[in-house]
């Protein structure tokens, strides 16, 4: 798959545009069987079914905006966030991202299951580009927020889903990124942690120039944090505008 997409990625956090999608299309290939998939590696003309996860998607998110992505399961919200993060490559279109991204995708920021929580934080900190002293600086804050207690020195595979998500969220939100991407983070975790996370997200939004892309099924949360909503269905952009209208559109759309 040689992609004809153009990807512009800079760390320029002064650019008024944070994220821009222009006619972005992402196609997943579904093969009938593992044998077909194997065949495709050597024979590019192998038959497959196309699923358009993002279909001619265009939007521009300005610096400092908080945008909620609404849509039913499988609408293509997560794919759009993955493309923004740079994890997956679109098949066509232009993606422009200015600023450093910290992302919580599928409830995880990318921790190694065999390493301990602390080792993971150090490793991920370095991968993000922090020095050892900078990591030591933010470590107490992360530990305090994540509340995993003694588990911090245990391998991640022994963590509960809640603990994993708490540590992931604490890490992703402590990095002071220019763009914060949160995919369904608050769906897990207990009430108390949700409240704490919401407070922190409010802090981040109130702070300087952080752009937030936010996927949720909780319309209350969307309304609380975002002034703008993007509604996606079957990979297509259906609505882009003020949050209250977006919620109204989405509620009407999903109930009909």
């Amino acid at each position: 798959m040689s992609s004809k997409a153009t990807i512009i990625q800079t760390n320029d956090s002064t650019n008024p545009i944070a994220v821009r999608f222009a006619h972005v299309t992402k196609t997943y290939r579904l093969y009938k069987s593992d044998r077909q998939r194997l065949l495709s590696a050597v024979w590019p003309k192998t038959k497959y079914e196309k699923v358009e996860a993002n279909n001619d998607l265009s939007f521009t998110i300005k610096r400092g905006e908080s945008v909620a992505f609404l849509g039913s399961n499988g609408a293509g919200k997560s794919t759009a966030l993955k493309i923004t993060t740079g994890v997956c490559t679109p098949n066509s279109g232009t993606v422009e991202v200015h600023g450093r991204i910290s992302a919580l995708l599928d409830l995880s920021v990318g921790f190694d299951q065999l390493l301990t929580g602390r080792e993971n934080l150090i490793l991920r900190g370095h991968l993000w580009g922090l020095s050892t002293s900078e990591i030591n600086e933010i470590m107490p804050e992360i530990l305090d927020f994540a509340e995993v207690g003694q588990y911090i020195d245990q391998p991640m595979r022994t963590y509960s889903t809640g603990m994993r998500t708490r540590l992931g969220f604490a890490f992703a939100s402590s990095l002071k990124p220019d763009i914060l991407i949160l995919d369904e983070v608050l769906a897990v975790g207990d009430r108390r942690f949700s409240a704490k996370s919401l407070a922190r997200m409010q802090d981040i939004i109130n702070g300087d120039n952080v752009t937030m892309l936010f996927v949720t099924h909780s319309l209350d949360q969307a309304a609380k944090f975002c002034k703008r909503a993007i509604v996606i269905d079957h990979g297509r952009l259906l609505f882009d505008g003020p949050i209250d209208e977006g919620i109204e559109y989405y509620s009407k759309d999903s109930s009909s």
């Binding site: 798959m1 040689s2 992609s3 997943y28 290939r29 593992d34 998939r37 194997l38 495709s40 590696a41 590019p44 993955k82 993060t85 740079g86 994890v87 997956c88 490559t89 991204i101 992302a103 995708l105 599928d106 995880s108 920021v109 990318g110 921790f111 190694d112 065999l114 390493l115 080792e119 490793l123 991920r124 370095h126 991968l127």
Partner: protein, 269 residues
């Protein structure tokens, strides 16, 4: 494709400090859970060397290619690089599954995963090289000037197997069959590649030519050239040239696979 080619070099340069850190983390992961930790990196190859020496020298009366060199030295010099090559051959061909969190949770250039996994395995190789030097010193075999080509060969071996990993890992990610195939071939390759016998003893000429195109044979033979048979690898074009040809072809294939399948890897993991 040229863009992919340049991208691989650029990414490895940009992420150089992280490569080292990730390599150390990989080592920690491998040593984790064993009280003796590092000691096993020495003990495991030593046990293998002993077992093969016992079976081949005492059992089958096998001899080394250089008459004045004890068989145990000849065996150890060839066997220790094999451990590195064996790891790269099997585990190295499936690094994206091993490091899926780098592939689909954050922005990370996937060819670099092969690089740091290679560094980790290479560090283990350097440590196990201690076994080789102990055996050589105990057997009172002198080091010659030909030992100076060892670092060059070691670095060449590193790069060859990292490129191998860049070529095969996308294929393994896309299809498990491919990785199973490589795993199935690993043991036959051990027996066929002249690690525990001297390829020079094969009396069928065409088979000798075929063997020259086997990179494992090349590395084992050239490590023995440095420490046992004492000649410069570049003095034997029939040894060096087929290898360089294979390396070049593999490199082009690796860039092509990264170009064509690389973007697909995060979608299938």
């Amino acid at each position: 494709m040229i863009q992919t080619f340049r991208g691989i070099f650029r990414d490895n340069w940009v992420w150089r400090s992280q490569i080292l850190r990730l390599a150390v983390t990989e080592l920690q992961k491998q040593i984790r859970g064993a009280a003796l930790g590092w000691i096993w990196l020495i003990v495991t190859p030593s046990v293998y060397v002993f077992v093969f020496w016992f079976a081949l020298k005492l059992g089958l009366k096998e001899a080394s290619s250089a008459d004045e060199i004890p068989f145990i030295v000849w065996l150890t010099v060839g066997l220790v690089p094999w451990f590195f090559m064996s790891s790269m051959l099997t585990t190295g061909s499936n690094v994206y599954t091993r490091y899926s969190f780098l592939v689909n949770r954050m922005r990370f250039p996937i060819p670099v995963i092969s690089s740091f996994f290679g560094v980790a395995e290479f560090l283990i190789f350097l440590i196990s090289q201690i076994v080789v030097f102990i055996v050589i010193i105990l057997s009172k075999v002198p080091f010659t000037i030909y030992a100076l080509q060892l670092p060059v060969l070691a670095i060449l071996m590193y790069f060859f197997w990292v490129v191998w990993s860049m070529l095969t890992s996308p294929l393994s990610a896309i299809s498990r069959d491919f990785h199973n195939l490589i795993k199935a071939l690993a043991t036959p390759l051990f027996w066929l590649s002249g690690i525990i016998f001297d390829v020079g003893n094969i009396e069928i000429t065409w088979l000798q030519v075929v063997m020259a195109f086997n990179p494992i044979t090349f590395f084992v033979t050239s490590f023995r050239a440095s420490l046992c048979d004492t000649y410069w690898v570049w003095d034997k074009p029939q040894l060096l040239l087929p290898f360089l040809g294979v390396f070049l072809v593999m490199f082009i294939l690796a860039v092509s696979v990264q170009h064509r399948l690389g973007p697909e890897v995060p979608d299938v993991l």
